[in-house]
Assembly symmetry: C2
Homo-oligomer: 605 residues x 2
């Protein structure tokens, strides 16, 4: 079973050498709290709980799963104790306001914390993760009373929260939501309906669970413009904050899933449950969209997490397992065969994992800085600034969520492959990572939905390609700055080509879309993947530039680390970036090649 | 749960329209047995048992799994009854000699039968499948007495067989095998050792199990040249053919696997088990290699099977599930949303599955004809002919096994993706197909091993590229024949480019290999995938040519079928073939980009 080791050297490389987090923090209103000592303490503390508390429960949680008994859900052995330890450390409130008991640190630190926790134990991490969606909603749209009632126990983690969107007939298409409320006359409502796929919908980790639910007011218009947000607590809350009666929301069953078995995925039945409106009438979906970017980056983390964990599992096996001789001659002459890490093809798999894990982590850490700036705007009540950074983030979000989760699955599968037949056996733990990863391209918007959001909404409709021109302009500037650095030449050359091609593809699709109305759906996933490969290429080139610089400035201490960064960048450009070309070619095919087939002709017998 | 429907229209298209099986059968010694009526009866009979007996047990078998109790293994509910029905139909002996109770039909029919069974229920199909490996070994290398003792009950299916190769310390590298024998003095041996990952190693379907085991004679040289084959029956067999004492081979445990849970994967302990040598001293591995091609094609079938079953599961859901509106306008105006099959991106996924399932099936049916010719040579005692066709087949084998199983996994994953979140839930059955498919690139030689076999052994060392030149010459001839067919032009143009590029890549790697000894391992998987995309392109072009021809000759009856074939070919060339270019670019990178990193630098903290 892969035991998680927090990659703190890489974390510090990203924060201090690539992205200059210290300077970034200084520009934030709450940045002075994130001084070097505090950040160090947080990193070490998170690493400790991840390595020693969460990681040991990863495989046992999968074996045991969650238990459902007549509406009651019990998490696997050790989860409650681990959760208690987690909240006693104050980890849940890291980036939430001091007035509700939090530590008010920048959101980015929360994301960095989440990435480590996610890698150590994704299923566990979903419980506090869902609570954050709930807290963000209440913070942004709640009344003072709602904030004062719900935030303190959510921030200290004694309560948890959920987001209840999906229903049996709809997930993506939330305009079809049927759950509805009736007024009680006292300002509260009675809710009726069924929600499915509710992560952390019921469990035994906390005293109360606060559901944020999408539902329809009695006079609601049809479709997406008739959905409102409601707070539905599992236990009603008395005026003094103590718990009152059990509310009419019950867990009908837990789903039996391919993976993330320690995460309770609930069917929730609302049978006249008391519900409190939060936010304006009929604007529930718009309110939800405010968090879309941050929520999706939270899921993008899963791609990095599974690539990293699978890499951490595969590497020791590749060093240990001996089989055949390397083609270039014996490497372990004292043994009957060479360790499989000496086979170039095994290294191809390991380096793919490493390139995705480290490249993806850098992409997320970069996006986290934008999220900080956006949050800074919100907290200052500066909606314009908040919107500016949210828009910026909006370009990265679908790429990170769509591309990194697809790549995370590939990497988890490669981890199985490195183990050969042993990868298929539960005991080794590699197949669990693959099963757990498979959800990541499905929830929080499938890859297809991310791709539509990117190409349709953000690139073509939203900016007529400007968003890509702006981003590639930034890359070209970087290339200009590196032009005299001979060592960087091969990266710069490839990046320049990618920038030109990316804009050409965008323009071409924009022109095609005038006549070919299905082209956006037809091209979207290839466009998303292309964008992901391009963005990761820029990221790796930046990391290589820093590494060359550090190597030049000497200090043999970390030379191996910087050299590995450069070598991984070379691997990425030589072996992974070429795939962008295949996506480029595929996406500009007219959509008719997909739409022309009669539905009845898909299968004829 | 996806209910299997045998794609008989496609089967007949391949046998009668694309490949001309009737003419092929006429050239075989046993071909006259395979007349049109017999073939029809077989296809209908296999379809019937697959649809009505095997398919209903697919999901229940996964849920229940195999039971292990103190050395005894019980297969899931219904498996024994299904197996009994299967053998009572005489299906196990379809292509085995009449003198042992078989029907002596061409091997290709057996493979065609296997593909349908594999799609309906892969785990079930492994039990009779493993027996075939055992039967082939005994038929080829057994003494008359061994054949007379073991073949009749294996052919009628009352006994089953296994192949015992893998040990804890080695799977690929069988030179490390430690299992050994000691002579009993009466010609038989005592065997000591442990074998793992033995499919069908223990179960309750048959009265006896005949293990074919790789082990070392007392005087055996080290490594691969010291391995001999042995027969180890679960129950010893008396002179009159009745069962005698329980032999000293016991099942120590069953593996807990990601999928194929209804297939019993056993740890077998040989504690002085009575063993009978089969075949010459120390030539066990060479003997095994005789079957490598057919065994690997048997596993390639799994790729097609999972692509097909996942497609059959995804298609009705895509027609049924409504979500959002198609970009080109409402398709189901009477409903609140359009069926998701109207979204181009969903069609991209379905067409990928369809292209791989039908293209892969055609590739396997073609290879099956080569296997027939090889078998014809063996049966006639014409080793030269047998070797000629085995060599021919040897080019297809690693491509089919490696490429089709990789593609099968992608298609199984796409089947989950079409279902969105529901794909992740066990109840729908789509995630099972993905879990079951994951083994296919691991056993019977990983993709990496197939790739080394193709590029290293067959293409570079074995033929200095001639094998590719010969194959592409065949394609170029096809292109020449189609040159005047305007409709075929776009396929022909792409195919011609691929042929040129394939040879160029081969030559380039051959030249690189002179100095870069690791290049074969470094390039192999990309070369394999390139070859797969190229071969499938040729296959789809051939199918399109037949379809155009049939359409021209009229007969509106099947027009929809032929049109769909052409449209799928177009999809393949536009959307999947471009990937070959990415593999081409990646493979010619010097191996140093993989080998340069110090082992300790893969992870630094």
């Amino acid at each position: 079973m892969p035991a998680y080791k927090a990659p703190l050297r890489d974390v510090r490389f990203l924060m201090n050498e690539l992205l200059d987090y210290p300077a970034h923090f200084k520009k934030l209103a709450n940045g002075e709290l994130a001084d070097a000592d505090t950040v160090d303490m947080i990193l070490e503390g998170v690493a400790d709980i991840c390595e020693n508390v969460l990681s040991p429960l990863y495989q046992t949680g999968d074996d045991e799963g969650c238990h459902f008994d007549n509406g009651t859900v019990t998490t696997p052995k050790g989860y409650k104790e681990a959760y208690t330890q987690f909240i006693q450390g104050g980890w849940q409130g890291l980036s939430y306001p001091e007035q509700y008991g939090g530590q008010n640190l920048p959101m980015s630190l929360n994301l960095i914390k989440s990435e480590m926790m996610a890698t150590a134990n994704w299923s566990f991490t979903m419980y506090p993760g869902l609570s954050m969606g709930c807290m963000n909603t209440i913070l942004r749209y709640g009344t003072e009373e709602q904030k004062n009632t719900y935030m303190p126990p959510l921030v200290d983690g004694s309560w948890a929260g959920t987001m209840c969107l999906t229903e049996p007939q709809c997930g993506t298409d939330l305009g079809q939501v049927k759950t509805r409320v009736e007024p009680n006359g006292d300002g509260s409502f009675k809710m009726f309906g069924t929600k499915i796929f509710i992560s952390s919908g019921e469990h035994d980790l906390t005293d109360n669970i606060i559901h944020i639910v999408l539902a329809r007011l009695p006079d609601a218009p049809k479709g997406t413009r008739g959905i409102t947000l409601f707070i539905v607590p599992k236990f009603l809350v008395n005026a003094d904050g103590t718990l009152g009666a059990r509310n009419g929301v019950t867990c009908g069953s837990l789903e039996h899933k391919m993976g993330i078995k320690a995460s309770a995925t609930a069917v929730l039945n609302f049978d006249g449950a008391t519900a409190y409106q939060i936010g304006p009438d009929h604007k529930g979906l718009e309110c939800m969209f405010t968090f879309m970017n941050t929520a999706r980056i939270g899921t993008a983390v899963q791609g990095v997490a599974h690539a990293e964990l699978s890499f951490q599992g595969a590497l020791p096996y590749a060093k240990d397992r001996i089989s055949m001789r390397a083609l270039s001659g014996k490497k372990n002459p004292d043994k009957v065969a060479d360790a499989i890490i000496h086979h170039a093809d095994v290294r191809r798999m390991l380096l793919t994992q490493k390139a995705v894990a480290e490249g993806g982590r850098a992409m997320i850490y970069h996006a986290a800085m934008l999220a900080d700036k956006m949050t800074d705007g919100i907290v200052a009540g500066d909606e314009k600034t908040a919107e500016y950074w949210d828009d910026k983030l909006g370009f990265y979000t679908p790429i990170l969520k769509g591309f990194l989760t697809e790549m995370g699955q590939e990497c988890a599968s490669l981890g199985v492959q490195v183990y050969g037949g042993h990868g298929y056996i539960k005991e080794w733990g590699m197949e669990q990572i693959l099963r757990d990863s498979r959800i990541s391209t499905l929830y929080e918007g499938t890859t297809g939905i991310q791709a539509l959001d990117l190409l349709g909404r953000k690139v073509l409709l939203g900016s007529k390609g400007k968003i890509v021109r702006d981003y590639t302009t930034e890359i070209v500037k970087f290339c200009g700055r590196q032009a005299r650095n001979k060592q960087m030449r091969r990266f710069i050359w490839d990046l320049t080509k990618v920038c030109a091609e990316w804009n050409t593809l965008t323009l071409r699709l924009m022109l095609m879309a005038r006549k070919d109305r299905d082209i956006v759906s037809s091209a979207a996933v290839d466009y998303l993947m292309y964008s992901g490969y391009a963005m990761m290429a820029y990221t790796w080139a930046q990391m290589a530039a820093v590494a060359y610089d550090k190597l030049e400035k000497g200090g043999a201490e970390d030379a191996a680390f910087y050299t590995a960064k450069i070598q991984t960048a070379e691997f990425y450009f030589d072996r992974l970036l070429p795939r962008a070309g295949a996506h480029a070619e595929a996406m500009v095919t007219p959509s008719s090649v997909l739409t022309q087939m009669e539905i009845d002709s898909f299968a004829l017998n």
